[in-house]
Symmetry: C2
Subunit: 357 residues, 2 copies
Amino acid sequence: MRMRKQNDRNTTLRDVARLSGFSSATVSIVLNQAPLARYIPEQTRTHIEQAAKKLGYHPNLLARSLRSKRNHVLGVLVFDLSDPFCTPILKGIENTVYQASYLAVLADAQSEWTRFERHLEILLGQRVEGLIVIANWILADINLLADVEKHDIPTVIIGRELQRASIHSVLVDNEAGGFLALQHLHALGHRKIAFIRGPKLLPDSGRRWKGVRSFARSVNLQIDARLVVDLPDLRTPNSGFEAGIKAAEELLRRRHPFTAIMAFDDMTAMGCIRTLTVAGIKVPEKCSVIGFDDVAPASLMVPALTTIRQPMEAMGDVAAALIVDWLRAGPESSDSEVKSRKMSPELVVRESTRPPA
Amino acid sequence: MRMRKQNDRNTTLRDVARLSGFSSATVSIVLNQAPLARYIPEQTRTHIEQAAKKLGYHPNLLARSLRSKRNHVLGVLVFDLSDPFCTPILKGIENTVYQASYLAVLADAQSEWTRFERHLEILLGQRVEGLIVIANWILADINLLADVEKHDIPTVIIGRELQRASIHSVLVDNEAGGFLALQHLHALGHRKIAFIRGPKLLPDSGRRWKGVRSFARSVNLQIDARLVVDLPDLRTPNSGFEAGIKAAEELLRRRHPFTAIMAFDDMTAMGCIRTLTVAGIKVPEKCSVIGFDDVAPASLMVPALTTIRQPMEAMGDVAAALIVDWLRAGPESSDSEVKSRKMSPELVVRESTRPPA
DNA sequence: GGGCTCTATTAAAACGTTTTAGTTAAGAAC
DNA sequence: GTTCTTAACTAAAACGTTTTAATAGAGCCC
């Protein structure tokens, strides 16, 4: 590997000024197409631009932000990147943010609180202009809020709803999702349906269950308590598969017949499918399975998973757009009330559900 | 949403100085535990620290880096984040970098060259101290090199080997991987083996194939050209599944019997499994399938995929460690030759392979 | 010839740190 | 009584920009 060059200094605005014979001010104005540039004659402009090009000038963004207090950088803090749930969201964010000519910098906390806090601190220290938090896990909001509110920086959180905070949120309508899922199974003709509910600590769990009960009530369907199991509370974002295996085993152990399983999410559903298949129960011939989320692997399975889709990419889009608009509107915009945006889930029928035999 | 406060100004070092009654210099020295701090008496120190705490002082990292030319930030540029191949690598990077108390900021190019370049430019403009590029796709290296070399910043690339550049690289030993894969199938007793090779433009394809032929030669196994298909060149990182479906269909269409498929990677392998299953050919009973990579979904399938594992997390670790050490050693270290680190792949036997019937 | 308004350009301050090169006082060494 | 060392602190320069306020000439109007 070569050494850093002797001449390590990056070329600066001043260098361009020197070469072109104009002052740094003029150069800055020209290169940024600042309002004042309208008075600068064509000739000067090209002259300066050529000088810049010749020197290979790239502005030092640190200095720029320090002075102008704008850096066009948004921080994205994800609680665990290895969760397949994040990826499409990030894609949505990246797209929108890119269009708006911002840069989204990601930091991954890997499910650790201390990392989360340190990353947050650094992002704030870098003076990002806005913050998007992807809360794909149980989130004790206290610390987050303290820090963020102090800095008073536009923030939106995806996947959770925060009370008592000046923070927007974007999340799926879990209740509607639960409703849709059961509706689908019911419409196929299933009546003996098993449920794997999410961890109690996760707000989503309750919401989805509420939707389920709401549909059940609407069609006068009895939910058999012996066909309901809960996922354990402690679980890292990727333990869902194992948990699904365990939960399905538990269901089989109870020896109460069922023709369909509604799983808390796709990972759980995949775990179920494994357990069922290993036990010789064919999916979907002998038992239907429906998931929730529509993460990438869901469509790769055989059978491909029927699921309730969260519009993840759109959620990323919306979150990013919220921030960008907010930033564009500037500090004087008073209309931005704390909002929580609920996105509609969507039933995606694939191969893992079918009318009961 | 609340307005930005009137009092928007963040508290600065100067504020702390004012409150504590010392100069900014002293405050800076104390708060950073700079060498000179050894002369500062305990009393002063605590006094200053209390003042800082009371004001809720958080240093402006922009100003800090601008002055000191160190920001403890590494840029990570990924060509497409939605490729499941990236996630474990990022995890490895994040871990190592975190230990070294750096921050890894990610930027996702979403398979677009223009984005890649813009992100690169911004990261360099932010004066990141080092750069890690995850090249999970076909990479025309020219532009990248031009920019990076000019800035002369420690860089390592994961997944590709670059010639003629002062850039380290970390990648799996593809040849060994190809060797291992065929060895496994052969050891199980398979002789009529189909191959789905990678896109021609991808260097990995050739390497893996070389390993395959090398093993075949060593045991005197004939490779039947009628059982070899190539994936098309144009493919985005996630088209592998579709391509696998098509490739397997092509193999079936040729009506040459085979008892096993060696797929270019896991995505392709999953596509094959789908095609075979749909065609009524049970995996692994009637046909074995082996993949390459060991991405997350591989272990979720039924049957779980036997594959050649790339040690992705370790690759991330190694790449990050390379940069960190390099940075630690400083500009004076002359020993850092351009290195390309080859990691050993590993056979992971799961359920999709079995001796032929 | 005074007062406008444009045009073209710039000097200098500011952003919030870190770091260099001191300063001062006190004691020790010679 | 001079010089050295060490402790405790600081003034001011620097980092590379953007921005504010100013300058100065030119043309025009009365």
